[in-house]
Amino acid sequence: MTNNLSQVSTLQAVSHYCNDAQNLALVLATGCFLGRLTVTHLLGKNAADYPALYKIDAAMMNSFTVFEISASLRSIYKTGTILYQGCTAKDENELREVTQGNFPRVDHPYIGRKVWTTYMCAAVLFKMGSSVISAYEGLKRIGALNTSLSPTLRAFGAGLGVLGYSIDMFDTGRAILDGYKDKQDNSCPASKRVKNAQGKDNELHQEHLQAARYYTMASLALLVGENVISIIEILDVVEGGSLLSRVSSFTGQHAEMIEGTVVTAMTVVALAGHIFHGATIEQLEHRNINQG
């Protein structure tokens, strides 16, 4: 990466990452999981003697209920925006400009305006369905609702999440390939997001944006994995000697460990992505991190 004053230092990037409520909740949940492991396996003590490790974890789970409610509502706005942009733009060139590079390149052989608009809306709606079901379960957990959803419906919700995040993964892969072609052509519509754009800043932005997409891809893969684990856990197929039943039985036995590991991996990937690229992208687009 080019050495540039716009690049954000590690400490500032970590502080900026933790300023976001959702990121902080993820970090605290990971901290609690790792804390429990340390107490049990390294110190050889009983984790139950440290109630804070469980209580903070439970509080973070409850915070995620608020995030799910918020995500469901935000999806409505996002769907509206995608549809509006997809329907009102004159042609593909304009749509690529309006979406600041989120839309595929015009020379893309398969993905045109209709296909992109359809699959992006589908992804948002799938994730919205998944969030609504998660929010419902969260409200049931805290006692605001009395009836629980059936396991089939909960598994369906997690399935919607798998579909939504898989589409996002596909689109990120497409953006990575387009990013290389953009670099060859020396054209990057996303550079419009850069404030006080100087030539070098645009170049830095493009480099970081392309590299950050790999971290996004990894985070999305982990989210898909988490939802798949949830489906297996909810369906609880333990009868018979099939592979699914063995996997289900294993997941059931080690649910806490598996989920904790996935959450830890998600935190590490997201934090690393923000430290190495995300914070600098934010800094270039908003100029708000290095100024304190």
């Binding site: 502080s15 933790c18 300023n19 409520a21 902080l24 909740a25 109630p51 804070a52 469980y54 209580k55 903070i56 509080a59 409850n62 915070s63 209920t65 608020v66 995030f67 409610i69 918020s70 509502l73 935000r74 409505i76 706005y77 509206g80 409200l139 805290i142 006692g143 605001a144 609702l145 009395n146 304190g292």
Partner: protein
Amino acid sequence: MTLVDIAKYALKDFPTSRECSGLVMACATLAHEYDIHTIAGLTIAPLGTLFKNWDEFNSGRMIFADWKKVYITAWKYSASKSDTPTKEVLESVGRAVVSSSVALKWMATVGGVVVLRPHVKLFGHIKNMTSFCLACVSLNDAYKKMEEERTTGSLKGKARWLSTLQITALSCSIFLTGIGGLDSYIGKEPFIDRGWQRVSPATFATVGIFVSSTKILKAII
């Protein structure tokens, strides 16, 4: 203010904002006061608790950013030829104290950190006192700004509305943190002993709803 702006605020920013949690908490308290426990199958009390805990977490998470701001402001203040006023330094310290006390209170109550448990009330009082002082300073600034705008003749239309809403919200916040804080500091007993009447929780909840609504209106405008 267009429909798109309203939709953007309502769907994107509002759900995780402090206005939303404040509104839900105040509505839950008011519903409890009027013996309404369920609305459309939704039990209100746990929802109020959820948003109360979330609000404390959301406010307390600013602890690092606020102390960082104190450091930057103090650094600017101590620089030679500095034009940073002392008030700015004190305000940033006040904000950091508020977020720290909220964070410590959250860790003691929701987080279950046993060492902090005996000091929960103290954290609450510090938070209320500091918030009260900060609200008074902000109210003074808002009045000054309005006076300046009136003198220059720019206090028209949107600017007038914004100033009015700002002053209304701050006045109500002063009532909530001042009278509410004093009420929680004194406690029930002295009132019962002397036969005095306390400000009812319904009044605090109504003012809370009013504050949140004013802030929402200000954000939309």
